[in-house]
């Protein structure tokens, strides 16, 4: 219960950050991604602000073994820059550029009762399930385990 309440608060703060920064708006994201047009650098400032705040927390987390609410601190162990990482990130970027939406803003936009967001999120979940099915069948080129970054 405590874990769920904590995670809900984290989701709220995360979503408030996406709303305040304007990143819930696809046009704001494509404004950043369109280098050849009129360029809006805001997204870089969002990432910068987030990294400056999160970096010390990850430094502390590296030295701790247990989380505040119990359980281990689970930091990704993978190191290799391998084919799944490269291809996956490449495919992700194409999708991100097409719609101007990535996973968290897509979910936040459901809270605006946006039909476009619903289509995006359902398709995104389908894409994740396609990956799981493909990885489960060990299709060539797909590695079984994708550890979360």
């Amino acid at each position: 219960m405590k874990r769920n309440a904590f995670a809900l608060a984290v989701g709220l703060i995360f979503g408030l950050g996406l709303c305040l920064s304007g990143m819930y708006e696809p046009a704001k994201v494509t404004g950043f991604l369109d280098l050849a047009g009129l360029w809006d650098p805001s997204l870089a400032f969002v990432m910068g602000g987030a990294i400056v705040v999160a970096l010390p927390a990850f430094l502390v987390a590296r030295r701790r073994s247990a989380a505040w609410i119990g359980g281990a601190i689970d930091l990704p162990a993978a190191q290799a820059i391998d084919a799944p990482l490269v291809v996956g990130a490449g495919v992700f970027g194409v999708g991100w550029g097409l719609g101007g939406v990535c996973p968290a803003p897509g979910v936040v936009d459901l809270g605006f009762f946006s039909a476009g967001a619903a289509i995006f999120v359902v398709s995104m979940a389908a894409g994740m399930l396609v990956y799981r099915a493909a990885a489960g069948r060990r299709l060539p080129g797909l590695r079984l385990l994708a550890q979360d970054a």
Binding site: F14, L18, L20, G37, D40, A67, P76, G93, V107, S123
Partner: protein, 143 residues
Amino acid sequence: MHIDWAHFTPLSALAGGALIGLAAALLILGLGRVMGAAGVVAGALEVHDADAPWRWSLIVGLVLSPLVARALWSIAPPAFDASWLTLAASGLLVGFGARLGSGCTSGHGVCGLARLSPRSFAATGIFMATAFATVFVVRHVVG
């Protein structure tokens, strides 16, 4: 390169970014988990996983956030200009790519860079590059 001064919002971008960083900091120290939205959604789909409940809770927090944001600030609803077909294709690629590549904008672009992970630097560089290229093709070649 021409800066879009009319839409450039450095202060709210920094402040919103700081909130996103705060959320990531709380999740790693409080629950011991990296805040990657794609991982949270994909994990929530594993309904029998012990981590599914907190992931659904985080998703509920994300979905409720516009209610709070609209009470605090004047925020217009998002405009989805892309066609439904484009959005569906975009969602499929984002979902599949994020799983294959082990992360998305928040997992690699925020948490991974904040962890100084070389894998995440590579992933962020690559998805930024293909996103720039995609928007260039859609807006300036095809469009």
